[in-house]
Symmetry: C2
Subunit: 408 residues, 2 copies
Amino acid sequence: MQIDRSPLARPFPPLPPIAGVTLRIARAHYKTWDRCDLTFAELTEGTSVAGVFTRSACASSEVELGRAAVRQGRARALIVNAGNSNAFTGHRGREAVEAIMTQVSEALGCPREEVFVSSTGVIGVPLPIDKARAGIAAALAAKPCGWEDATLAIGTTDTFTKGAGAAAMVGGTQVQLAGIIKGSGMIAPDMATMLGYIFTDADVAPAFLQEALERANAATFSCITVDGDTSTSDTVMVFATGKAGNTRIESWDSPGADAFAAALEDVCRNLAHLVVRDGEGARKFISVRVSGAVSDPSARTIGLAIANSPLVKTAIAGEDANWGRVVMAVGKAGEPADRDRLSIAFGGIWTARNGVPVDRYDEAPVAAHLKGEDIEIAVDLGLGEGRATVWTCDLTHGYIAINADYRS
Amino acid sequence: MQIDRSPLARPFPPLPPIAGVTLRIARAHYKTWDRCDLTFAELTEGTSVAGVFTRSACASSEVELGRAAVRQGRARALIVNAGNSNAFTGHRGREAVEAIMTQVSEALGCPREEVFVSSTGVIGVPLPIDKARAGIAAALAAKPCGWEDATLAIGTTDTFTKGAGAAAMVGGTQVQLAGIIKGSGMIAPDMATMLGYIFTDADVAPAFLQEALERANAATFSCITVDGDTSTSDTVMVFATGKAGNTRIESWDSPGADAFAAALEDVCRNLAHLVVRDGEGARKFISVRVSGAVSDPSARTIGLAIANSPLVKTAIAGEDANWGRVVMAVGKAGEPADRDRLSIAFGGIWTARNGVPVDRYDEAPVAAHLKGEDIEIAVDLGLGEGRATVWTCDLTHGYIAINADYRS
């Protein structure tokens, strides 16, 4: 099935090269397609690594091995296979990942646990080791490529290439960040069929890098949802080569630590939004802002209940100011809420305050807002100071077409 | 919008009259439609009542008042308004319910708390008191009607009338049960836009009736889901007139208590299945059987994660044996699961056992099963003795059409 480019797509941005990172791509022929489906990022010696991974109880071997290896803090290579997720493939799947780690560590002369592998695609088919081996050999011999080519090679059902960059001043030295991501369906709060990689030339200690990534992830990737489904492969990693020559960031007290963390969070937020913009069948980008909850986590839970509600998402698809469905979603979230203190706005216009529709409610400006591409739903619980913003897309015929009409 | 009759519809069954119950319907004109939209069930003196209600934190005044009144255990009347749910209407909504209770209690000469009111329909518009008053006066003057007419009058977006009956022997006396229900969307594990009423001529003490209803509800209405959304109005009530003349059922030790409870659960299960069969856009009825979980509640949570997964539901709609999506849903459920012990079957045919696809897996019989109307998904966790069955429907273009294309 040909899937049209998302109407919410953004052009791939200009991203700076990152000193210490060399990208190469190759054809491993994981599927019967004529495209590059293996991406190889070689990283300079001494590169720090951090990662966050799916919480699925059925995670792939890639995720299990990556989660373990990231603890030692160093990376020399990242290999991404597209077309086969190698999830739910038992010991044969694990052997395939270990074979790739061995091959690459021998080629680069580095410890095996400094080689990170991701795979994305169909579940339940072991990654063919021969194809992986040949693909890696081809990648090692290939010429370096740019960010967009690498992004194309990690994609599967994506309808556009997604990247984001940022810069930060770290103690008088400018550092660069460049991030790429793939993902469009099976996107949920605990991350997604989402593989995201951020590269920076900053010199950052692994422990701080991990802390900064977890903090950024909580406010960005963990606040998006397309269909509430969680992939077995979700991974976001950061690689810091140290080539910028800044004074190493060791902790939040190091010069430039805040600036670097803010830039990292910016990149994560932009990448997360792009995944929502490529949500299967998406025609509208929806921001759900929750305030007045008893706590920030409670606000996030309520926001996700709204963002995951099929009835809310179809109402937005229909450009229907059906705030009753928002009430319903707040009510079902299982978090403290008081019907008679609840207020709801679309596009900054209150439709209901303190549990009743506003007097002389004029639907016209709300209807005009809903005709746009970027939709804002605000909910105030009136109970406390907790707040959160989550992002999602509408639920359309396109989602059904991609997931039901198309035989996997 | 004209919504077609569900292809999974069942004919309305023959239901016995229940001694002590008189049904009447009237036109309250809650919407600009030409149909009966007010149902009045008059109950003989001494009728026992039990009820279970939505857990929504934003429940309607009907639910709040009903939940409080059911504790005194007696009912003389039930009034159901269709077309306006009166939810999220603040004190004006509450006043409308209280006005109905007062009017009916004066007409019947009974305490106000023996009058139960339900409303279903659009959220956020106070129920018009004048229309309710006139509708009740008309109902009081109307001729008695049968079960199907009453079921038609409580319906809103339902595409067919839903009823179920049963009989049980209670200490040598046969008792009858007749149940009716409405609901098709906003159906979730904590019940639904679902109003269900079961009437019996059995003589049952209110405390036992409540216990039997809660037990039946846990295994039936709490195990269905259409879209994971929870209504602000969900209500299931049982009324026992005592006219059968059996020895009163006071506890589980009373003669016939088990038989009565089993009959009640049968009626609840049949009604629950009919709601799924009228799920918005449903073309397939899906049973999800989970075994081998660490506990029954854990099995139910996993079953609901599968049954609520848009990716599973669209795969079934597409008749696609995509068991990888079932793995995904198990993984995201947040319950104990071990990828390498997990087994999955469609229509009794194992597709994966102990974490890997079965050897020489033949998709043909699975594909044949998926072409049918009644789909079985079985998941064995291989961890313990916990089991549960939940029921849902597929997710189709019809759901989107009903909820997005149709402006509320």
